[in-house]
Symmetry: C2
DNA sequence: TGCATCAGTGCACGTTGTGCATCGGCCTGG
DNA sequence: CCAGGCCGATGCACAACGTGCACTGATGCA
């Protein structure tokens, strides 16, 4: 991020991302062309594809950043916490901070709910994050085997729980602004508690 | 499936599916065009798009059929079994039967592992099946609320466990033919047992 | 047998995504 | 300071994708 060139690059990338998100929210992702996004961001169509390989990836990148923030938070939880507890806390911290990015994150989730064609892309991001989270969990537990079952399962369960909690939350609080974090907290607590107890 | 016309339609669909899978395995999905698939299946390009909206959907449809078979099996498990136990049995039955389709199913999974661009489509199928499975679970438990937490979590956990078990299985037995069902059974048992016990 | 239906097909057209060459601002070593 | 390399943005060409529309011929039905 040091040089001016890199800053410019990040700026255009952010501009493209914002333009894509804004247009998709206004007209629906299906009715937006890359050409329109490029025009809105005031860049060439070719430049768009230098940053994202499709319009879906552009809008999803916001959600990807959110998931990445979660993993960062999880990594800095104290080693004394159990894995589920650390996950719970990481989710809360990630949601409470990032006021600006968090707003866009919620917007993106609402967009995905209204555009089913985006779901696969969201899941692809989640799968990638699932791998990363599994690695962090394995590291936290001092496991050497990278493909051990527990970290993989745990990561999958955690992200699935998060996804379902978010989904149910957005169901209950359709367009609430500012978002009701207390309701969301209850959803997360319930889901993770279920995981700790087991499904039997 | 009664009339000759419908049989013909299913036949061409199957031909297209097989051609797509075969070509994708041979050359990699990236290096295969719809035109080539159409030629291999001896149909017009336009006809291809009458059956599938993309080549990815064509190859993924094999995996989709497999997931559908699982849900069908789950639905016919006796009501006495617990949800995790019913899932375990349904997976076994689904894997043991369908010798012909099952072979293609495994082939498709191996293809997906070597072609990351297919992941979003696979996840799309899994998400759809997750919804369906959640409905079946809710019905099995006599729940009226369609968005209750337990069925959603349970379905997500089950499919994630299945996905991880398959993944670890394909890691351990790279190209084994015939597939080592006993190893797979151990993977599934381990994963579901973990879910029953809980992650704490 | 006559009529409605519908899968398969060809065609036109807008959109997507990429390789390639180029331009021009930025960075760095001398 | 400045000359040359670096690199992001751009235009262009082109292959591939995906869809709407109209048509044909086989199929199913009364």
């Amino acid at each position: 991020m040091q040089g001016r060139r890199e800053r410019k690059k990040l700026a255009t990338r952010a501009a493209v991302r914002d333009a894509a998100l804004s247009l998709a929210i206004r007209h629906g992702i299906e009715n937006v062309t890359v050409e329109q996004i490029a025009a809105e961001a005031d860049i060439a169509v070719r430049t768009f594809f230098n940053h994202f390989s499709s319009k879906e990836e552009a809008v999803i990148s916001v959600a990807a950043a959110g998931a990445e923030a979660l993993i960062t938070e999880f990594r800095r939880r104290p080693a004394g916490e159990s894995v589920p507890e650390a996950l719970r806390q990481a989710v809360f911290v990630a949601m409470e901070s990032h006021d600006e990015a968090g707003r866009d994150y919620v917007k993106t989730l609402q967009l995905i709910r209204r555009a089913p064609s985006l779901v696969p892309w969201q899941m692809a991001v989640l799968t990638a994050q699932e791998s990363a989270l599994a690695d962090v969990i394995a590291e936290r537990l001092g496991l050497t085997e990278p493909t051990a079952r527990y970290p993989l399962l745990c990561a999958a369960m955690a992200l699935a729980a998060l996804r379902i909690a978010l989904d149910r939350w957005l169901d209950q609080v359709p367009q609430h602004d500012p978002p009701r974090l207390d309701v969301f907290r209850a959803e997360i607590d319930g889901a993770i508690a279920q995981l700790e107890t087991g499904l039997a």
